[in-house]
Subunit: 221 residues, 2 copies
DNA sequence: GCATAGATTATCCAAATGGATTATTGATAT
DNA sequence: ATATCAATAATCCATTTGGATAATCTATGC
């Protein structure tokens, strides 16, 4: 039984996909979420043995978009496979999603059997649904470690951290505590703390260790 | 003025190197340490603007050996350059030191001018002293990301973490707190905490964030 | 000009963390 | 058989952290 979660801001879209999947008895629709924010908060109070195996995620959504949601959740829940659900084949967005941690993508208008086939294949063999053109771009990215920060290291932007916040996250990763950072930056420890809490909110986590996990695994530092 | 620290368990060795360097007015011998343990503890109460620029480190030492000391300190103090001081050209040990974060090595019997030249060059151009055969091994390591955990990922061993400790460090990195980990492993949160404190001692740090930095940057997880 | 966002600071409070210490058990090694 | 080590657990205590809330000040943009 493959547990699925569907994240899309349009209820009709969610229903269409859910319908397609419900014809196949291997799938259970665990829950549906209306945006990235909603999804992340549902994941937080989700028992670990009841987490989805696969999450189908729309990209364009209010509050927290699909890219950011995948970037956050794929760090926090490394077991879960994230598949982007798109209407059209927007290579750049999908490419960003892959970098954020998605394992592939599906077109919404794909037929029920095709979707079911792709997802069971993902479940059984671990191979995510990826088009040849995207696959080639990824290959290039991996084969060119010479390429500067540009390709791999600009994930900071998708979390919308301010310069000050990036700076403080960096210092957190170096093991400094509030008052150390305050001393170095000539600001109060209270301010540092406030920045940290803001950072956690942007990363949708609630501890330093979780923030650092995202920072390290997504190359924010 | 280049600030130097010398770490060697034999006082005569330290004195010889210190003498060679003191003939060149660019160098200041900041301090000497008698082993890795001693070195790390001196670093802890070392004002940041008074840290050494370059550390000359022997490998074979009691308490904490040079490899472990470099692995720890190069994570905690990324600005500092570590140069291994060896008597003979033991490729394997040097290679391990490079993996741990050393930027090169020097033979102890090298003449004063040669050592001075190597170190000023390191200081000015960033190029550490490395022999061609070691350089080749490093090239292979970088060019073969296919190679499994063997080459890059077995740094766990140099910190002598027990299986349980590795397991708990892993869970710490996932952002779990004491009681979560206790629940998952069916042990008390107090025990988890005890393990953590033992881990910190082995990594020579005193906070979770610092331990995670070492874990991430040295591939322990 | 006014709205908005970022940076700054503070206070109160509950919870988590780090450190020191002690003790028991089981396995391993000398 | 005895010493050592790893894992387990508890207690006490000081410090650090996370969260909520409120306020001020400065750019920046419309």
């Amino acid at each position: 039984m493959i547990r699925i979660a569907i994240v899309d801001d349009k209820i009709t879209n969610r229903r269409i996909v859910a319908d397609k999947l419900s014809r196949h008895p291997v799938f259970t629709i665990l829950f549906q979420a209306s945006d990235g924010e909603d999804f992340l908060s549902r994941m937080k109070d989700c028992r670990e043995d009841q987490q989805p195996h696969i999450v189908l995620m729309d990209i364009e959504m209010p509050n927290v978009n699909g890219i950011t949601a995948i970037a956050t959740a794929s760090s926090l829940y490394p077991e879960i496979r994230f598949v982007v659900l798109t209407i059209f084949d927007d290579e750049d967005k999908i490419f960003n999603a892959i970098k954020a941690g998605a394992c592939g993508y599906l077109l919404k208008e794909e037929s029920g059997p095709v979707i079911a086939d792709m997802l069971t294949n993902l479940w059984e063999s671990g191979a995510g649904p990826i088009s040849p053109s995207i696959a080639y771009k990824i290959l290039q990215m991996v084969q060119a470690p010479l390429a500067p920060a540009s390709a791999l290291n600009n994930s900071t932007e998708i979390f919308h951290l301010s310069e000050r916040e990036k700076q403080i996250l960096e210092m957190l990763s170096q093991g400094f505590e509030y008052k150390d950072i305050g001393n170095k930056l000539f600001i109060s420890a209270n301010t540092v703390k406030k920045h940290c809490i803001n950072i956690y909110q942007k990363l949708h986590v609630n501890s330093r260790a979780q923030a650092l996990r995202i920072a390290y695994t997504k190359g924010l530092i």
